[in-house]
């Protein structure tokens, strides 16, 4: 893991407005060749972090360097040039529904290269073979199962052999077989293509099985980090709650609310008062 980090985030803060910070002072590194997991419960800021790395959002404070470029300072052309070296697998694949599987995988090659059609065809078939779907080349996305669509999207994302792969919840909504297939593909493609990868997920077992290093995010901050083995042995209550899937712990089960007793037989809420008033007048 020698060389400059592929992604280096230093004390980054971000919020859609000043009153609601999503990320606060987050720092992380992705070393070349590694697969890094960013984990945390839904709404903790994981996807926002991924969007900062991809340059969709600009950090309010701190530095985001990706593949040697300072993402926040790039103009749209610079950002597009950077994204040509990156690939992203979206949560539900985001395949172009008006194109066949073949055309989806060929999309970037046709847009960014002047390769002859025969060569593009060979390359597409190689990518589809890698994800086991060469036989589905002429199918439309609507004809694919969720797992197959995710694999096609993976083939499309690695079409131009990106140096950095971003995975946004790649395991969501998959059956156990597809889930295992996708997880193995992420690791295999990363190692065979010499990439670096960031996997945003809340699926502990699958994620721990393929990543080299994990960052736990909670309420917009990195609350724990380490290798999967270190985190399994961690005594930190947040990590324990997350790894064991316990309902209550540092992350409360209940959303903040006034006293339960007061809601049951105390003061009426506004809507119930209105309903009562209407019933009386009716």
């Amino acid at each position: 893991m020698a060389g400059l980090p592929v992604v280096e985030i230093d004390k980054v803060s971000f919020g859609y407005d000043a009153a609601r910070p999503v990320l606060q002072g987050v720092s992380l590194r992705v070393e070349p060749g590694s697969v890094v997991g960013i984990m945390g419960q839904s709404g903790c800021g994981k996807t926002t972090l991924l969007r900062l790395i991809a340059g969709w959002l600009k950090a309010g404070a701190g530095a985001t360097r990706v593949l040697g470029e300072s993402v926040g300072e790039l103009d749209s052309e610079g950002l597009f040039a950077l994204r040509r070296k990156m690939g992203m697998l979206f949560q539900f694949g985001a395949l172009f529904t008006d194109m066949t599987v073949f055309d989806n995988v060929a999309f970037q090659m046709r847009e960014h290269t002047d390769l002859p059609p025969e060569l593009i065809s060979d390359l597409v078939m190689m990518k589809l073979e890698a994800v086991g779907l060469r036989g589905a080349a002429q199918m439309m996305p609507a004809e694919l199962s969720g797992g197959m669509a995710r694999r096609v999207a993976l083939a499309r994302a690695v079409a131009l052999d990106p140096r950095l792969m971003l995975y946004d919840e790649p395991f969501t909504g998959l059956d156990p077989i597809s889930l295992g297939v996708i997880a193995r593909l992420i690791r295999t493609l990363n190692d065979s293509l010499g990439q670096s990868s960031i996997v945003v997920s809340h699926d502990v077992e699958e994620c721990f099985g393929i990543v080299d290093y994990v960052y736990f995010v909670s309420a917009g901050q990195i609350v724990a980090q380490g290798t999967p083995a270190e985190l399994r042995g961690s005594a930190a209550s947040f990590v324990q709650q997350f790894v064991r899937g316990e309902a209550d712990g540092p992350i409360p089960f209940h959303y903040p609310a006034p006293g339960y007793q007061a809601d049951l037989d105390g003061e009426e809420t506004q809507s119930s008062s209105l309903a009562t008033a209407q019933a009386c007048h009716g």
């Binding site: 969709w56 597009f80 040039a81 994204r83 979206f90 529904t97 847009e111």
Partner: protein, 279 residues
């Protein structure tokens, strides 16, 4: 004590009024901001239209979806509008003994007004709503985001070909509508009622001016094409990525496009057919 109560009430009323003004101001500024955003979007779209022409196949494909697939409704509507014009026109003209002028009435009504306007309204409902829904759903299913992530500008690749396909299709559809309408007027006037065929066509040829009538109608349909397709692509691109968001955007496309066509038609008619001498 009573003074305090009155003062408290006055304060409440004032606070309510202030809140009302704030909401009004916020709503108005949001609308103006969106209008500005739509204008910037249009400028960006025009500047990034190169792909739509360099790879004209992309635009041709969209012409098929927006233009060719709209032909059925345009042709059928044109035929019926022309037939109704034939009936109504004959009924009025024969009272003044000038039923031979039926061809002129049908042709001028269609070429100047009904062709561009009705074809535009149908185009907004059939193709405009489809464009908005398609782009909105592409956004909701992250296809637009995926394209951006692949370093492909979605405005150049997705929006511009649809926009230019609409601008190209609209005058052609309006011409087809007018042609079909004239045929409908001929069917009713000449074949059904028995107006003299020679008078029907010759008076039409003599009275319909190529530049004043036909070209002005074409200009109108091009303007409507730009307005409808701009509204359609903008609403789709700006739609919130939810089911309600896309449904609301589709509705807005049809409503705003229809209003824009009617308002623009008035302005263009005032400019074109008064010769700038309206008093």
């Amino acid at each position: 004590m009573a003074e305090r109560t009155v003062l408290a009430r006055l304060r409440t009323v004032l606070a309510g009024l202030l809140q009302g003004f704030e909401r009004l101001g916020h709503g108005a500024s949001a609308k103006i901001w969106r209008l500005g955003y739509a204008a910037r979007f249009f400028a960006y779209l025009l500047l990034h239209s190169g792909t739509a022409f360099r790879r004209f196949g992309l635009t041709i494909r969209e012409i098929y979806f927006t233009g060719v697939l709209s032909m059925t409704i345009i042709l059928v509507s044109g035929l019926f509008v022309g037939m109704v014009l034939g009936l109504q026109g004959y009924d009025t003209l024969q009272r003044y003994g000038s039923s031979e002028a039926l061809g002129v009435l049908v042709a001028l009504s269609l070429v100047r007004e009904l062709g561009p306007v009705v074809a535009g309204l149908l185009f907004a409902s059939r193709a405009g709503s489809a464009i908005t829904a398609e782009i909105g759903l592409m956004k909701a299913t992250e296809q637009i985001a995926a394209m951006e992530m692949m370093a492909v500008d979605p405005i150049a690749r997705v929006v511009a070909p649809r926009f230019w396909a609409g601008v190209i299709s609209m005058p052609l559809l309006a011409a087809l509508f007018s042609a079909m309408g004239i045929f409908g007027g001929y069917l009713v006037g000449v074949q059904l009622i028995g107006v003299d065929e020679g008078a029907f066509w010759s008076q039409m040829q003599a009275s319909v001016d190529w530049r004043e009538d036909v070209m002005n109608g074409v200009v109108k349909s091009v303007v409507f094409g730009v307005a409808v397709t701009w509204i359609a692509v903008f609403e789709g691109y700006d739609a919130p990525p939810t089911a309600e968001g896309v449904s609301g955007a589709t509705t807005r496309t049809v409503v705003f496009s229809s209003l824009a066509i009617l308002a623009l038609d008035f302005v263009l008619t005032a400019l074109m057919f008064t010769g700038g001498n309206a008093k």
